[in-house]
Amino acid sequence: MSEREKILGSIREALAVNAPLPGAHDHHAPAVLRHRDDDVSQWLPAVGQTFEQRVERFHANALDLRADFHLLNTVQEMGAKLLEIRDGENWQKIGTHRGELTDAVSAELGLPTIRTDDGYDVRELESCDAGISECDALVAQTGSVVVSNRSAGGRALSVLPPHHVVLARREQLVRDLPAAFILLKHRYAPVFPSFFSFITGPSRTGDIERILVLGAHGPKKLTILCV
């Protein structure tokens, strides 16, 4: 008998006896699974319905997480903002991928550019000053950026360089986490990319005396430019 069959056999044997329902020790617990299929949006932190409320929430979250968020009016403005950051941080080299927004702005930067789309050298990417990527969605509720290896140039581009710049569009800003998962399923199912990540603020750690330090292993900075 294979280990797989052995383990599944033990599981089936164990499950022959029913377990008490969850929260049975709690006086308010229901006698049946009543909440299994609840819409969890109603329990999670509330987010307003309008676009303005979503932007406001995303902005507040970004501030709290020490990410930079800029709502811009045109792709030209986005390009100008990037130039400003390039000069401010003295970028020498960037990593990016092919995409509508990335293509529109990255050429103007006039810097040596690593494109990750068709494979790349890891050391080259590691030496970039910034990784510029697109995304699948922005989540107002948590201030998260949802990326996949299809939308954001692979697994490493958004985590290896010290500054991750996200280029997004207004219509990508969804209300909450349940909405983000609906969007992902709608967009990709049944053949999902092999990697997704919900990125919420720059990389951080509190492992030394529970004191917050940014840039533990991933980017020290996260900038989100939205048009």
């Binding site: 299994r36 697994r155 983000a180 990697f195 919900f198 292993h217």
Partner: protein, 464 residues
């Protein structure tokens, strides 16, 4: 007394008197409490969220066979190799086997309590491979050759000064008292390791049956790098990590972060559904998932305590536990510390050897109240006590209780015991807490209240 029990008692005794240690832990946990309460208050209904989370985990665990098969089938369909291990030894052999077959030189590892459980690093090092822990806290305790102090905050017991000394000694860095500089020292030391490692090993927070994905929650980005750069990726997880549906994460990701670290959501919540797929620009060429039983089915068979498998390893029960706060994480001598560790270790290892952990509880219930998936923790501690005695009765306890029943059934004898107790109390101070005192374990740090000068019955009789 078992060896772990003697060690627990000795360490607990020492550390409860170590005020510096207690101060360190309590300061850290106070910060956590403030942050957690702030984030919890943002939920529209935290209690309903808990109930829903408990029901989702109940569904997963009580249909574990179905969901595991679905999980494995989906992963295999996209080129992942799924391995099943009944024991820790098998899991170690599988992983060492993969590493050998790849002729790996170095291995980068992100945080995985399951790997601690099976002592994976020892096995890999014994087989001649270098393994580097990449989570900052885990890296620090690895350099100290120590076990993690806490399942979520592995280096919580160390001050920046101790960490600076450690880095100075092990990495040759300059002394500093800035947590930021210390973090950057580790960042620089580990950067090259990601790039040169042949194999990356990760743990897993949730295994999504519906889509065949593993979900990893972290703040630092080390797990993301571990899953992006090496050519081979290995994920080790316990079979209880399953969640039925992808969108169940919409509830579990924020709840794990809030209960575990007082965050709204952690920095990176990543999903991996296979090795690099055609058309993708990077990612490992090979992806291995190792499913570990290691007596989890033993716990599953105990229907009364089955909900202990709902655990998402957030560490919230450790953070609120008055015992943990006083004796600290290493005292437990287990992979999983605190209330959840005291509940499951007797199942994962041996009840008689580890039953003392269930005794080390005030049964205050803070753990049960805080658990985001509503595990009935403090009742399980009581059930462990009951099971331990039923399995192996203690002779002197049996005699003591028989004597008690004998006395309570005979009112005249009981009447007589009261003046005797008053008399005994006069002489007890002579031997209190000394080797002659039969109740020494109790009386050396405690006083009994005086026996009342008259009982209620005597009072009633004399009242006129």
């Amino acid at each position: 007394m078992s060896a772990p029990s003697a060690q627990f008692k000795a360490d607990a005794e020492r550390l409860t008197h170590d005020l510096r240690h207690r101060g360190l832990i309590q300061t850290a946990l106070k910060k956590y409490e403030v942050a957690r309460d702030g984030k919890k208050a943002n939920y529209q209904d935290w209690q309903s969220a808990r109930q829903t989370a408990a029901e989702i985990k109940w569904d997963a665990i009580n249909h574990l066979d179905k969901y595991l098969v679905q999980f494995a089938t989906k992963l295999e369909a996209r080129g992942t190799k799924v391995h099943w291990a009944s024991t820790a030894e098998q899991a170690r052999e599988i992983i060492v086997g993969i590493v050998r077959a790849k002729k790996a030189h170095s291995i980068i590892k992100s945080k995985a309590m399951t790997a601690e459980e099976i002592h994976l690093n020892d096995a890999l090092e014994h087989a001649g491979f270098e393994v580097v822990e990449s989570d900052l806290g885990e890296y620090i305790v690895q350099l100290r050759h120590e076990a993690p102090y806490h399942i979520v905050f592995p280096a919580m017991h160390l001050t920046r000064g101790e960490i600076s000394d450690l880095f100075e000694r092990e990495l040759g860095s300059a002394a500093t008292d800035s947590p930021e500089e210390l973090t950057m020292i580790a960042r620089r030391a580990l950067r090259q390791k990601y790039i040169t490692a042949d194999v990356g090993i990760t743990g897993c927070n949730f295994a999504i049956a519906e889509t065949g994905m593993i979900s990893i929650t972290e703040n630092e980005g080390n797990a993301r790098l571990t899953a992006a750069l090496p050519k081979t990726m290995i994920t080790l997880l316990g079979i209880e990590k399953v969640l039925p549906r992808l969108d169940d994460l919409a509830l579990f990701l924020p709840m794990l972060a809030t209960a575990g670290a007082g965050q709204a959501i952690t920095c990176y919540n990543s999903l991996y559904g296979g090795p690099r797929q055609p058309g993708e620009s990077d990612g490992p060429e090979e992806f291995h998932v190792v499913l570990l039983d290691n007596k989890r089915t033993h716990l599953l068979a105990d229907a009364e305590q089955r909900d202990a498998l709902h655990c998402i390893r957030c560490g919230a029960c450790l953070n609120v536990c008055p015992i943990y706060k006083n004796v600290g994480g290493h005292t437990y001598g287990t992979t999983y510390q605190g209330p959840i560790g005291s509940v499951i270790t007797p199942h994962l290892r041996n009840l008689q050897t580890w039953k003392h952990l269930s005794m080390a509880s005030s049964l205050c219930g803070a753990c049960t109240e805080t658990c985001p998936v509503k595990i009935n923790l403090h009742h399980h501690l009581l059930q462990n006590r009951r099971n331990a005695v039923a399995q192996k009765p203690v002779w002197w306890e049996k005699i003591a209780f028989k004597g008690f029943v004998f006395l309570m059934n005979r009112p005249r004898l009981f009447e007589l015991s009261k003046p005797l107790a008053r008399l005994g109390q006069i002489f007890h101070p002579l031997i209190k807490g000394t080797a002659l005192d039969p109740a020494r374990a109790w009386t050396k740090t405690r006083d009994l209240p005086d026996v009342a000068p008259e009982t209620f019955k005597e009072f009633w009789r004399n009242r006129k």
